[in-house]
Amino acid sequence: MAESIAELIGRHPVLEGLSPEDVEQVAGCSHNVVAEVGEVLFREGDPATTLYLVRRGQISLEVHAPGRESLVIETVGDGSVVGWSWLFPPYRWTLTGRVTATLGAVAIDGNCLRGKADADHELGYVLMRRFAAIMLQRLLATRLRLLDLYGDGAGG
């Protein structure tokens, strides 16, 4: 039997442990998505309206520079999440997201969720704590990569 959106959300590592009421709130803004390799989910500069809870597969985050080939700066895989731009003005994607392994995800409507978080600050705080933890993890990973650890003279 297919799992409900609420069940998928409740079991996702990022939102696991949320109260059933909070899960229902999030589920009310969500739908299931499947995307194939090569599909572009969002493009840099476009309005950002979605948060993706990745259940399986992989999304590569690309940045473009005029006259240069695109660079993949990060990938997001099973059990992770992508898309914060709907949280902050001007609500536009800052990167391009392309599917690089067949994707199964829960897509959460950012406008809807922002509205619910504004109306229910406890829900907003719970969600923000979850999202901030991932942002912190990504910030640390970015800092480590800034060190260019594998550059000249590094490693055993």
């Binding site: 660079l71 990973a141 003279g153 490693g155």
Partner: protein, 287 residues
């Protein structure tokens, strides 16, 4: 009556290199080669995965390089060398048929034989995969009483896809049963693997972190953050083994160039258990 002359075993001075012939040379990346070596003056002692030799580029100098194959295998001694200085560049430029000097083996090893029935996760960054290659091969050889191999998870990080070592061999490890995750810091579109740091991949390794052992080698910052992530995933501190690198010169604990806190890396390492003392020493600023 004249005494019969007793055979006196030859004792080689540990500071005297033996000549080895380069019998094979394989380019791994733009700046890294693997040299296959056979002895000209007799072999060095049997080595274990994780140990290192001092290699001489005659007329240029000597440098510590990890042994990069499984010494128990019936094959020439192999060293994977990245050209980062005068000596390592000269070694990389040595052609097949040329000679290099070898002293060793020195230091502690990965202790693969001690891992017994444990599953293992190997985490390598950059050129740090070279000292782990022999251990990975040895770990793949372990078999349970049922004949089934033990679970081995290999997590490899590199600057970009062109900097990956042993690409074909990694696929062979995968075919032999290893769970393989390869991640790079940056990539062009078309790279289908993960982009990010190795620590992001660890949670996906299909091992029981509470009982598995970890072998970690790479840049020291990577080692520290990898160890912290492994703790967070439930791995006991004493299950983590790391390999460190310093300015090894004599290889036998005499010159002191490779001192790190109370340790001489050439003698007490390069492989250490990541215990509280190790963590404190690596977190300190002494170098």
């Amino acid at each position: 009556m004249a005494l019969a002359a007793e055979a006196v075993p030859e004792v080689r001075h540990p500071l005297t290199p033996l000549r080895y012939r380069v019998v094979g040379k394989r380019r791994e990346t733009e700046d890294t080669v693997t040299l296959s070596l056979l002895p000209l003056d007799g072999p060095i002692a049997m080595t274990k995965p994780g140990q290192f030799n001092m290699l001489t580029a005659f007329g240029v100098g000597e440098v510590a390089i990890s042994i990069s194959n499984d010494p128990a295998a019936d094959e020439p001694l192999e060293h994977t060398i990245r050209a980062v200085g005068a000596v390592s560049s000269a070694l990389c430029q040595t052609p097949p048929g040329g000679a290099v000097g070898v002293r060793g083996p020195f230091g502690t090893d990965w202790g693969v034989a001690d891992l017994g029935q444990s599953d293992a996760i190997v985490v390598a960054g950059g050129i740090g995969l070279a000292p782990l290659r022999g251990a990975i091969r040895a770990l793949l050889e372990r078999r349970r009483p049922t004949g089934k191999s033990h679970l081995l998870s290999v997590v490899v990080g590199a600057r970009n896809p062109s900097q990956l070592l042993f690409e074909e061999e990694m696929l062979a490890w995968q075919r032999a049963g290893a769970h393989l995750q390869v991640t790079v810091d940056t990539a062009r579109p078309g790279w289908s693997g993960p982009v990010g740091v190795v620590t992001d991949q660890l949670a996906r390794a299909p091992v029981d972190f509470a009982t598995a052992a970890a072998l970690v080698c790479g840049p020291e910052v990577m080692i520290r953050y990898t160890a912290r992530t492994l703790f967070d995933l439930g791995m006991p501190r004493d299950h983590i083994r790391i390999s460190l690198e310093r300015n090894m010169q004599c290889g036998v604990g005499l010159c002191g160039h490779c001192q790190l806190g109370p340790w001489l890396i050439c003698r007490d390492g390069p492989v250490f258990t990541y215990d509280l003392e190790a963590e404190a020493i690596l977190a300190s600023r002494q170098r």
